[in-house]
């Protein structure tokens, strides 16, 4: 017989039986070694695997939510551009060509009234000079230095969405956060001017209200300058907050979006997915606390752990009965052997006595 086969068929069963016999004599080690530790390993391993799978699934779901929200924002912006362009080409183009500010203002007024979410509208020439504005109180001489104007002009005239900013002061009223949606007015072979319409960012919030991240998650939007456009947990209003240091905002993102796990300043773990909004360089971020996402698996494993503890307790109880039975059978064996010995001694002494009697 080859040595390996011999070891497998002869030595190994002997070793195993010796080991089992040793364990068998120590009930505590036997239970710990053969029941509790393997059970614990199985539960912990199953938890780790499930937690990892659920985390990946949650990140995937967050990615889909962020993509959906980004799509909603992008489509709504596209529609806004189209509508602006349509309304502008209808009457504004003629008014610009003939340089009639009153006609332009009337057109802008009609445009603002037609679009209930619009706050104000400006018509500018290609150098940034304001040709007309509605409401007139917001009229300014030039907008050449404004960020949104440069955004629309560079690298070539194109429809654009600005970074978020506070609306110009009017009548001492609280200044809402607004964004500029700009749209160049095209002539036959040149650009006639730029139409700029300001919208309250509260409207962006309303676009996203149908998208939920459950449980305990939320969506927020940041602009090209890493400022908060929409954030559901605003306490006090003010100038837009720059959040470049927040991990989901700091992370570079490509067109397909990205996911990440990070810890906040309270050391709470969060899952997040980042998705860019079309060509605007805005980003939608869907985020959720990791413990909330893992709640289902934690809940299941708490119950599983309890069941394991109960099972272990049951095994301990049965084993204790078994140990007692084992001790009882050992006692019985001991007594039997003692009786056997006594019987043998008794027989020997009787034989001796019989022999002496015969003699």
């Amino acid at each position: 017989m080859p040595p390996l086969r011999q070891w497998f068929h002869v030595s190994f069963p002997r070793l195993l039986s010796d080991w089992l016999l040793r364990f068998y004599r120590r009930p505590l080690s036997f239970l710990l070694g053969l029941v509790f530790i393997p059970l614990l390993i199985v539960v912990v391993a199953a938890y780790q695997v499930n937690a990892r799978l659920l985390r990946e699934q949650s990140l995937h779901n967050l990615g889909i939510t962020a993509r959906l929200a980004a799509e909603i924002v992008d489509r709504t912006l596209q529609e806004t551009w189209r509508l602006e362009q349509l309304l502008a080409q209808e009457g504004l183009a003629d008014a610009i060509k003939t340089r009639r500010p009153e006609a332009m203002q009337r057109q802008l007024e009609a445009l603002v009234q037609l679009m209930p979410t619009a706050v104000s509208a400006h018509m500018l020439d290609v150098s940034g000079r304001v040709l007309a504005a509605y409401p007139p109180a917001l009229e300014r001489a030039s907008a050449a230095e404004e960020g949104w104007f440069r955004e629309a002009r560079e690298p070539a005239w194109h429809p654009s969405v600005s970074a978020v900013y506070l609306q110009d002061e009017a009548d001492g009223a609280p200044r809402p956060k607004v964004v500029s949606v700009t749209c160049p007015l095209l002539g036959h072979d040149d650009v006639l001017g730029l139409l700029q319409v300001e919208y309250r960012v509260d409207d962006v919030k309303s676009w996203l209200q149908t998208v939920r991240v459950e449980p305990e998650g939320f969506l927020y939007v940041v602009d090209q300058q890493d400022q908060l456009v929409v954030y559901p947990y605003q306490v006090l209003p003010g100038t837009p907050k720059r959040v470049s240091s927040w991990p989901p905002v700091a992370q570079p993102v490509d067109r397909a979006g990205s996911t990440l796990v990070f810890k906040d300043r309270h050391q709470r773990a969060w899952l997040a997915a980042v998705q860019p909004v079309g060509r605007t360089r805005w980003r939608v971020i869907a985020t959720q606390p990791a413990d909330a996402a893992m709640r289902t698996v934690s809940h299941v494993f708490v119950w599983l752990g309890l069941m394991c503890v109960l099972l272990f307790g049951l095994i301990v109880l049965i084993s204790l009965r078994w140990v007692r039975l084992h001790e009882f059978s050992l006692d019985l064996l001991r007594q039997n052997s003692k009786l056997l010995r006594q019987l043998q001694q008794h027989r020997i002494s009787r034989r001796k006595d019989d022999g002496e009697g015969k003699r």
């Binding site: 009223a173 609280p174 939320f218 908060l228 954030y231 559901p232 947990y233 605003q234 306490v235 006090l236 209003p237 003010g238 100038t239 837009p240 907050k241 720059r242 959040v243 927040w246 906040d264 300043r265």
Partner: protein, 186 residues
């Protein structure tokens, strides 16, 4: 027997008092309070508690314009519906002066939020913030309890956010909170 009867009478009286308690006393409930401290703020809010209290105008006092009307926490059964109740938000907080300059006064900005984290607008207010000015000396590095009160009409207040937005020091200088918006969670 006498002792048993007395015990039964006492038990009955206590049961009646406990039973009518919720109808006899005005409503009071604790509201969740969240503290927000700006980075590098000279005064930090350490603890904050807010209670919504229902109070009735005292039935024995005629309201005089400009005069302070006494309020009572007792709900009089015979005057039900005659004297309307008012709701007060009562806040207690502990502030700590972080600077070496004594503080003379501070301005608290309070935001009432509903269960969906939307600000609640009070009638007559232009924005969702309530501003409370507290004239109080706080020695350097010392803590000081502060109380504030605000009459409210909306009972759907779920959470109250409290922020220190301005501080006046003994030397006349004033610290103002940054103009940047303040956000929660992160």
């Amino acid at each position: 027997m006498n002792r048993l009867r007395r015990l039964a009478l006492w038990t009955g009286a206590v049961a009646i008092i406990l039973a009518i308690g919720p109808w006899a006393w005005a409503m009071q409930k604790t509201i969740r309070s969240k503290v927000h401290n700006y980075e590098h703020a000279p005064v930090l809010i350490r603890r904050s508690g807010v209670t919504l209290i229902e109070a009735y105008f005292s039935p024995t006092q005629l309201p005089i314009p400009g005069g302070k009307v006494k309020q009572s926490r007792v709900r009089y059964a015979n005057r039900k519906g005659i004297t309307p109740s008012a709701f007060m938000l009562k806040g207690d907080l502990v502030c700590q002066n972080q600077f070496l300059q004594p503080v003379q006064a501070l301005e608290l900005t309070i935001v009432l939020l509903d269960a969906f984290h939307q600000p609640i607008l009070l009638p007559g207010q232009s924005g969702p913030q309530i501003v409370q000015r507290v004239m109080m000396d706080i020695a350097p590095k010392q803590e000081q309890p502060i109380e504030w009160e605000q009459q409210v009409s909306d009972l759907d207040i779920f959470e109250v956010a409290v922020v220190v937005t301005r501080v006046r020091f003994a030397d006349g200088s004033v610290w103002q909170a940054p103009t940047e918006e303040l956000v929660d969670i992160f």
